[in-house]
Symmetry: D2
Subunit: 328 residues, 4 copies
């Protein structure tokens, strides 16, 4: 597959492509006009003065890979930069349950140094008989807490028909179960807001990056890759956090990487170890579940930290970040 | 969790439930009025003359399990019965490519004994730069081939917004990548047509049955569970067909089970072994990719059988079915 | 890597090899003089009239692969041929517990058509505080039952220092946990008796065949490859029987393949499905646990069949074998 | 299962046990007389003044668990303490190749702060046609380098018959492939030297700790548990380092835990990330492959660090250790 980085609009090259038997797709990304052309034998033949450079991409993923874009992408969400020197921590409850709950957590995690408020309004639950989230009401609560604290929000989208409610959400999470829901990926690509893309529990690193390609191919380059544990034979933790896979993704891609230690841990005592390990390995962002009273939570009660446990963890992350030349 | 099987409409019990702190959901399924009630401590307290029987369900899945419904469900698709004594084989190309291709395959597989025509019009491809299927045009071709041969069709749905095109499709496939796309599961539940529900490549048997619950909870009981291989460390086959998991699902559920040997095999030489193994183990249905000229296929070219290989396989399936007291 | 099949003894070629920088190993296998030579660049240069043919082997395994030996190997154990047209069934208790137990099972399984008596005298138990088997006394019981019924025996070896007790055992099993115990593999290679080599629960097909290479490299070509389930995320069965991997092994190798449905099933109801699936897929042999009173067994009580369940299974295997052109 | 911690020798309790139908095993461990007794119904009945305390152990592993021993075990190897406040780093070549190679590495890693010299003399290679190590000559080279630098040695044992050569080795490694070679585990238990016990690539945390039980049951309590990556579907790294599983083991056991980042990484660029992640998560020890000229190494050339890469890594580990209140 080839990425043609264009000097200017592609009218002339497009004409040539249409006459050839090549397949192609144009996209404007990171301020650049790109033309993706394949198969290679056809792409190599196309020549045109409008082409600045032709890059052959040998990986199965194309736009999310760094063969055509060497510099790291920094995803800016309301002034918070993900993928730069600072380690960014997003924290908040697994599920939005009430205004009191969210406000208490939002204030607590902000005080501790979090830069983002997370919280689920639409919950992807294995069973239809489990609590499915507050929906639009949950988004409203999150937004209020965001306005009150100044923390931007990240929350999960399950259905493109709910996008009208995501107007004031700052970053849209695509969960592990929708990591290969290509329809939804295209929809958030078109919607244009920054995307936190979780890796599917049964997906390889290559597939994860190809899923990012679906968002990027719509011209939306603001994607953060989030590792949240894969399915393996080991069940003493809920999922196996794949620190190696996360770092491979970081090295193959120009996109920032995030780790979610709460879901693989499935137990608040382990969250700390997995969070520190992720930062030490090179994660650009962390997504951590915090609840004012975890034992009363409506979902995932065992893996949510208390506010004071979160504060303690943030202190350790602060120290650790310094050692590796970063900050929170 | 409790399933209350009701004698009649639930107005009186509903009133009691609303006064209690129990959660509940009513559904009409297989001609029965059901009320799903939880948590157990609350459900056990509810009593009402409209309740015929209260069944305690201890598995994480509820409606798809056989604790409340002992008799096997037979899914009837245009007169073809899945889950009865006959083994049902669905065959056709991975992707619909042209009218000629589909007609040739449809006639060939019908002659060989297939009872269903399969073929992808909307293709869930890992990369946005791979062939994505013919879409509505593909559905139209399938429908014509179905009318010409009398074989009912099964084809994959990726986006509920495409449902208007599925009007004349007979059975809707939910693919492995959407196996936990709960939004889509609810949508096909409401749409009401029979559903072929593939197991996600990273999903446990319990999760698969819980996904079926999403369809059943909308009152659509016509679900066939389809095993298509799981992700394991072994990569000499494309996926590991989980014969044991398929049989566990059959024993825990009243729903019929289907095996797709084409995707895990990833190689036509292996399809035969996996197909025979699935039938011997107890599969009620098979889903097999057949292409008139596999080496020219636009997708999955290595795993599609020729028509004559399919005929030979059907002869073996016929003999095998007899041995285990079934027919095709 | 190259296999040189020699016309005669290799004195002249050995001299040339010693002068070159090639590595080599000579072995006499299946009545042929072989010289394994690597790396390829060196091997290709060696030429000598004593070499009948030079075969380049591109797989990571060498002797167990079929690049140098196209015809299937039949392993003969006391007149019972494994890998020929007949499907061979070995049956017996998980652990040898008493003379009465073994005699009862031996007579029962023989009557039902088994051709081999299996039974563990040395048991590889996860915990040192579990029943470790009767040891030499167990071997003695097996041998008596073998003499009384005429069934040859297969039993597991854990420690080469116990080989003196294996004098009258007919086939030596190397268990899954020792599948990469290269020391033990070499020892049974030298000992010379037929070997039933189980696949390690975390081993790929390539590794399994490379383990067979350790036995073959000692000149012992009587190896049967036994699939017994691999470790995957799915825990509704004890292990995931890898029917596909077993068939890949059969296609890549000249050695016969066996399936052990008892260990992956972990439940006697599932053993039947997995056994039939294995035969339908192409297994040459089955290894099945049978106990006169499974619920009283000292190990693996849930997965052992009663004698009458075994008889019923054998009837189904008999019918199935016919369909695929084989016999038991 | 019960552990009886005894006040004194067990003659009187042993008599009672022999009269009962209980199974039991006595062991002297960490200066304590212990009696392991099962099943629970029998154990609970035994009473005797020689018993100081009876501890019921509910985990499948017994001696390696912390239900009977709350205080952490510190393994002392020639004055180097593993499991205390200091993080201990063992470094050296994958395989011992020559005296020059080992001396150069030993001096380099010592200068950088390593406390142990590692190096393989007996190599467990997947294929019998790969370099199998220098054997006794390799041990001799390691020993000389150890005497010259003062670093204690850790090296792998594959066969108990080689133990005479391990006289001057300080710590014996049991590799992943022998992690359930119970014969070898008993042998090193009896031999008495400290053991570095790798987790099998297909083994659960519970099985790993049960393997440690085999060593401890022989009275040898000097065991360090080493995580080296498990087999999962993700193949972009050689194995998936299970940081979570390592920490679960540390929390369930009193034994120290070590991480080997070289094998799962399979690539020197990733070793750094995995090493730092392991220390951040709480590993007590690291095992790192270092080679003077990795690209010329006879095995695992891609994953060995150069001496200068190792120095740089040690500087980062030093900083990181401080942050979490430890030292190297």
């Amino acid at each position: 597959m080839y990425v043609f980085i264009m000097k200017r609009k592609w009218d002339s090259v497009k004409e040539k492509l249409e006459k050839s038997s090549a397949s192609f797709k144009s996209v404007e990304l990171y301020g650049k006009q790109l033309m993706i052309v394949w198969p290679d034998e056809e792409a190599i033949r196309i020549d045109d003065p409008s082409i600045e450079i032709k890059v052959r991409v040998k990986t199965p993923f194309v736009l999310s890979g760094n063969e055509w874009k060497k510099e790291k992408t920094i995803v800016d969400v309301n002034g918070v930069e993900i993928g730069g020197n600072d380690v960014v921590v997003a924290a908040g409850p697994c599920a939005v349950e009430s205004e009191e709950q969210v406000f208490e957590v939002a204030k607590g995690v902000k005080r501790a140094g979090a830069k983002f408020l997370r919280g689920g309004a639409y919950k992807p639950r294995t069973s239809p008989f489990s609590f499915q989230g507050l929906g639009p009401k949950g988004i409203e609560i999150l937004t209020k807490a965001s306005e009150s604290t100044g923390l931007p929000t990240v929350t999960e989208l399950l259905d493109a028909r709910d996008l009208p409610y995501f107007d004031r959400v700052n970053m849209i999470q695509i969960g592990a179960r929708n990591s290969q829901n290509f329809t939804l990926l295209r929809d958030v690509g078109k919607y244009g807001k920054p995307v936190l893309l979780k890796r599917g529990m049964g997906n390889t690193v290559d597939e994860w990056l190809s899923s990012a390609d679906y968002v990027l191919a719509e011209g939306n380059g603001s994607v953060v890759l989030c590792e949240r544990g894969i399915r393996t034979f080991e069940h003493s933790t809920r999922f196996t956090i794949d620190i190696g896979g996360m770092i491979v993704a970081k090295r193959l891609s120009h996109l920032p990487v995030c780790a979610d230690p709460s879901h693989p841990a499935g137990d608040r005592e382990l969250v700390r170890s997995m969070a520190l390990a992720s930062i030490a390995a090179g994660a650009d962002m962390l997504l951590i579940e915090v609840h004012p009273e975890p034992e009363k939570a409506l979902s995932d009660s065992k893996q949510q930290l208390t506010i004071s446990m979160f504060e303690e963890l943030m202190n350790q992350i602060r120290g650790l970040s310094k050692v590796i030349g970063r900050r929170i």
